[in-house]
């Protein structure tokens, strides 16, 4: 009955454009790929022009340089082509902040900012004209000044030509007479070549890391100087590093109450007790770190604590230490960025991350229809991959690199069986909604289809037709309704 109501409602809702002012934010999607392709080509061309092969070097050096340059061009093209977020809200916002910085710093070369869908909290500079800002980082900041410092830091890398300098330094070292002689000697030795080459590579890596870290320090420093020329609050630079220091932590420290989301009277939660963490029979201790391998020696960036100390000295103590109040405007930016990040995890087939982030956000906003759609779609996809026996492709391993709350979800995902999902989804629908809501947008319609298909309800066919009728080039068309592929060749 409830589904009939939903089906009846969906047609009328889809036919009526929602009022833009009142509509909740939905992750941006456009089937038009021309604009991102053109943008990607522009950035690829810029990197091509920037990474000019040096002349007075050896042939091997040139070949190596060309290869790296080619990879960098391909990488920047792919990154922009498949991740540029050209939405009407967040992108204009970050571009405005970026333009303010550029206006206050006319000495900077012409640089374009690309807002990326990448959910990882990160930003980076490519060549001499591209700054990439991940939406995952935008969702972890507290104000515009912090955003400005992140962008200033990346602009500093560009102003100092760190990419080209770093590449040349590294290649000069690798192709130096000394290293070539050493490689020749190792190969001529004939014995234990592998371990000797590994030791040499580690030495080169340490050398490269040393230079990278030198550049990061420069970028922190110059970025601060660039920020000072703007009207943004320079005290926030320190706070950015403080946030980075904690960025591996979840938004809220409490573990997810999965039983409350996915258990109900009709379908008792399938795991009476929290599943045990996998226990290894091995008790191999982590290798003892030498002085050369302290906690941050092999990272490209120095420890945040060191960077914070340095920046505090630079700012002569004029710093913001601890959380800052968030303005309503920036709070909206943060909230929308987080939704984009959730969608990105989903789009990159990382359904474990998508589910985790969506459930975290649902605790603060339990009625958010978009987040509920993502949870439904993630459950649907997880079950599909279980049935296809490629679950390992979409769910990560429990790892010390993850925080406990995420590991708890991973352990649970490995314990849930394909047969459990119908009950999990039914309870999730029952526990969250106060009233059955009609699928008012593409996400909701896709989720309605997924729920019906997973439960084996006949309405799935109708919902599929409706989806395809309204969203022929829709975001979920290929994922939910893939065209059958021809059978593979067998080997015995």
């Amino acid at each position: 009955m409830r589904l009939l109501f939903l089906l009846a409602a969906v047609g009328s809702m889809l036919a009526t454009p929602a009022l833009a002012q009142q509509a909740p934010y939905l992750p941006f999607y456009s089937p038009d790929t021309v604009q991102v392709h053109q943008l990607a080509v522009t950035h690829r061309t810029a990197v091509q022009k920037y990474l000019v092969t040096p002349k007075s070097v050896s042939g091997e050096y040139k070949d190596h340089y060309k290869k790296i340059a080619q990879e960098a061009c391909t990488d920047v093209y792919n990154t922009v082509r498949y991740s540029a977020l050209l939405d009407p809200v967040l992108n204009p916002y970050v571009q405005r902040v970026f333009a303010q910085i550029q206006k206050a710093n006319p000495q900077l070369p012409p640089v374009q900012l690309v807002l990326s869908r990448n959910p990882e909290p990160n930003a980076h500079a490519v060549g001499n004209s591209t700054v990439m800002l991940n939406v995952g980082l935008l969702g972890r900041l507290e104000n515009e000044s912090q955003l400005a410092y992140v962008l200033c830091h990346e602009l500093a890398h560009i102003q100092e030509q760190h990419m080209a300098t770093g590449l040349r330094e590294q290649l000069t070292k690798i192709h130096s007479k000394q290293v070539r002689k050493e490689v020749k000697r190792i190969v001529a030795d004939e014995y234990n070549i592998s371990s000797k080459l590994k030791a040499l590579a580690l030495g080169l890596k340490l050398n490269s890391t040393y230079h990278h870290r030198k550049y990061e320090k420069q970028a922190d420093s110059l970025g601060y100087a660039l920020l000072k020329r703007t009207s943004f609050d320079t005290k926030q630079a320190y706070r950015v590093l403080q946030l980075l220091d904690q960025i591996d932590q979840p938004l809220t420290p409490e573990p997810l109450a999965l039983g409350q989301f996915f258990g109900c009277a009709n379908f008792p939660y399938p795991l009476a007790e929290a599943p045990a963490k996998p226990k290894s029979i091995f008790t191999v201790a982590a290798p003892v770190k030498t002085v050369m391998e302290t906690s941050d020696t092999l990272k490209t960036h120095p420890d945040c604590a060191k960077r914070m100390r340095y920046l505090s000295e630079l700012a002569q103590g004029q710093i913001t230490d601890g959380p800052s109040a968030i303005s309503p405007e920036f709070a909206r930016v943060v909230a929308q960025s987080r939704l984009e990040a959730v969608q990105s995890w989903f789009d990159y087939d990382c359904y474990d991350h998508a589910l985790f982030e969506a459930l975290q956000l649902l605790r603060q906003d339990p009625q958010n229809a978009y987040l509920r759609s993502v949870v439904t779609l993630s459950l649907y996809e997880l079950r599909e991959h279980l049935l296809k026996h490629d679950f390992y492709e979409v769910v990560g391993n429990v790892s010390k690199h993850h925080h406990d709350n995420f590991n708890q979800l991973l352990t649970t995902l490995y314990a849930w069986k394909a047969d459990d999902y119908k009950g999990l989804l039914a309870c999730f629908a029952q526990n969250g909604s106060t009233a059955p809501a009609p699928p008012a947008n593409e996400y909701a319609l896709a989720a309605s289809y997924a729920a019906a298909a997973l439960s084996g309800e006949p309405t799935a066919a109708t919902l599929k037709q409706q989806y395809l009728a309204h969203y022929q080039d829709g975001k979920f068309s290929k994922l939910l309704f893939p065209k059958p592929v021809s059978s593979k060749k067998s080997i015995r």
Partner: protein
Amino acid sequence: MFVKRTLLAASLAALAAPAALHAQTQTLDGISRVSRTAIEPVYAGNEVKGYVTYTKGDKADKKNDNFLLDFYDQDLNKVTNITLQKPAGKYFLLRNAFNGTAFAMYYYNAKDKTLELETYDTSLKKLGFKAIGELNRADMAATMQSFGAQGNDGDSGGGGMFGSMGLFPVPNYGFVRNSYEGTMKGYNLQMYDDKLTPRWRIAADPKAKFYETINLTQAVDKYILGTALRRDGVMSKKINPYMVAIEAATGKKVFEMPVETSTTEQLSLSSFTFDPVKREFIAVGEFYKLNDKPFVNKSQGFFIKRFSEAGKQVAVTNYGWHNQVAAAMPAEARQSLEDGFVNYTHSIVRGSNGMTYIVAEQYKVVGDGMGIAMTMLGGNASVSKGKIANMLVFALDPEYKLTNVKFFPKDPSVAYVPPGAGLMGTGFLGMYFRQSGQFDYQFTQKNDANSQFNVVYINYDKEKGEATKKVIGNVAFGDNGQFKVDKIDGTSNATASYLYPAKPGYVMLVDYLKKEKKMGMKLVKLNI
């Protein structure tokens, strides 16, 4: 880059390639050659708790190569690696074993013609080393035999009629190594502790007139259990199976008796276990016509015998293929019995609820028209070929009443029969098919609680007009009383694909791509 987590960010840098981080997969590059035995599961009790790969590295010096042992946990996380410097091209890993406190690696050193044992604790710190030289001809033959065989089902007890060198882990005590006397006339069992200090040794009676081999099958309660086969001569077709229980602490044989307890019996022995609750030994095997020979001829059914710890027979029940078993068989399975298929028992497992499950696969030997024609023309081709067919699981309740026969049809596959072996008898050929890996059955997985079992087999689905599909079948059963089948599409474009046991609820698939020199290992979660 404005990043803290360098590794994580690097993994996500190529956004066009979506991937879950730290997934239950491992891809190894630069692999120029691979065989099935390059990866060995590490068992702790019934469960797979990791894997060890053994590969040849670069040259260590003029005479030695670096050999690499890489250890992975049950989720395919790399644990560590060990580099050994051993004679170039002449050092082979035969087996690994884990007894709960120590790992043992069992090697063959072809340069010195020695068998070598190395043990490590769970932190992979070396505990002991032992080289065993002066191998006799039987030991050498069994060592060569061990190269092809893998310790499936966690059974690495060695021995058996075809002979192999085994290393049997015994929790809390150490490891038992088997060896042979003369031309496999007798056996030796040597128990070592975790540091490879000898604990005890037992051997077949050197004065005995018969030939005897032993296969250790289970360490349970205070016992190490085994099945011994006695024959009058090396070519004798009459094989007498014996049940043996050895006290793990002392090496004393506390139970040794023939499975045939009267002259009117002709029995083979497939499994010998101990029920610590009822304090009974349980023997399961097959029975034969009075004039037929166990293991060699076609069996008439299977039996279960129970014995007290004192060696007194408590009960015996026979289940004939054509009466008790046929009556319990589903209709779709009966045709196969009429078609002359016989059953090869692959494994017998006992659930924690007292249920016994017997896993069998059907096969038969048929004349090969092409082989006959070639022989007529003076060739040396085999005139027979084997046909491997469906899977069966027999379920017996705690009172050993046959309650269920489950039939799992699969497409028939052809097995090679060596020239002349077609006349050796159906039972013998069944053992040959098993030893030469020609059955579609792969292994049975058990959890530590003995409450869940999973039988894995391969089916080559040959639909007319379509490319052959490789389907990995999984039959799961256990204390919940349900039989569930889960089929994985194993068809791939890999140069070679292998299937390995994994942690409960999973199997591990390995694809080797020769051109790319890549080997991909992935843990596949089963829908069971």
